[in-house]
Amino acid sequence: MGRYSVKRYKTKRRTRDIDLIYDDLSSKESIVKLKNQPIDEDKTGLAQYYCIPCAKYFENQITLDKHTKAKKHKRRLKDLSVKPYTNLEAEAASGVNMNKFLQSVEQYKQLEQLKKENNNEFDQLINQKKDNLDAIITGVPSEEFQKQQEEQAHQKVIVQDSEMA
């Protein structure tokens, strides 16, 4: 196995687990909170460019955008598309706390339904773009970013018009 390395799997280097990430992604508040974190000097990119599915900080918007197109990110999205494995499932598999597990499955289905209904909003929140660090710190948006925003707004209008027509 090429990807195997003992160092990577030490508990010391343990990254956020997939069931926690699933929780992160399942409410709008948590997404907003994680996407708009306060400036933290200890974290990469002052904790401003965060990929929630991969639980990873990035230097700037460009690297984050590149990452979202990459294989690792897509693999992670695939892992997140199914119900995360929890201890409840392990217990249910051996015949303990079966009812609780069935309830959790119901909850999961409801949540997925809700996510599907508000798919656009969730996507927008998760894929929101940010200005460069100078602009964030000074509070003055850079010209490029303004242009991009305008373009996006323009595209949205076009899409809406086409839908109307």
């Binding site: 799997y9 494995y85 598999a93 015949g95 303990v96």
Partner: protein, 196 residues
């Protein structure tokens, strides 16, 4: 004393056995052996590994939804000790286990039901595609006979070569094709001799 379930393979974890990992949000993960612990650290998905109970349940290999499976649960309600209650509970436990095993058996049988016909159909198809498989014994015998004949031929040839050497040294100088022809002639002669 409480018997826990392994987070990975769902095997019972008795006191003083296995290892526990506590995540930084205070969630406990118990493992029955190092195999499970290692797999957990490698972030494998138990649902995708065939040896775990989770896989067997998720893939429909075992009974999942059944009333006998719903009794064992943590209820978080303290119950005052009652001798009669304990007695009836113990009785019920063994009875439920009995019923569960019966149902499990029936489920397994039902799961394996169509297999014989399926295998038979597969074999039929295979034979249709490769009819020579049915005459395998004949083919074997024929091949054996061929092998024996080839061996005999080789022996005869060896004899010829030795006799040729004895007869004349001039022939060595001749071309290979001619030598072969001579061999064939000698072979024929030998055959005739044996027949006679």
């Amino acid at each position: 004393m409480r018997v826990y379930q392994c987070h990975f393979c769902s095997a019972p974890v008795y006191p003083l056995h296995g290892i526990m990992f506590v995540r930084n949000d205070a969630k406990e993960f118990r493992f029955c052996r190092s195999k499970c612990h290692k797999s957990f650290k490698q972030r494998r998905n138990p649902r995708k590994l065939r040896w775990t109970k989770a896989f067997r349940k998720a893939a429909g290999k075992e009974l999942v939804v059944d009333s006998t499976l719903t009794f064992a649960a943590r209820r978080n309600v303290p119950v005052r000790y009652n001798r009669d209650l304990v007695a009836t509970t113990l009785k019920a436990m063994s009875r439920i286990e009995e019923i569960r095993q019966k149902r499990e058996r029936a489920f397994y049988k039902n799961r394996m039901r169509g297999n014989k016909d399926k295998d038979l159909a597969y074999d039929r198809k295979l034979i249709e595609q490769h009819p020579e498989l049915l005459r395998m014994r004949e083919v074997e015998l024929r091949r054996k006979a061929e092998r024996l004949a080839a061996k005999e031929n080789a022996m005869e040839e060896e004899e010829e070569i030795t006799s040729d050497d004895m007869m004349s040294e001039d022939e060595d100088m001749e071309s290979e094709s001619e030598a072969e022809q001579v061999k064939q002639k000698v072979l024929l002669k030998n055959k005739r001799k044996t027949r006679a």
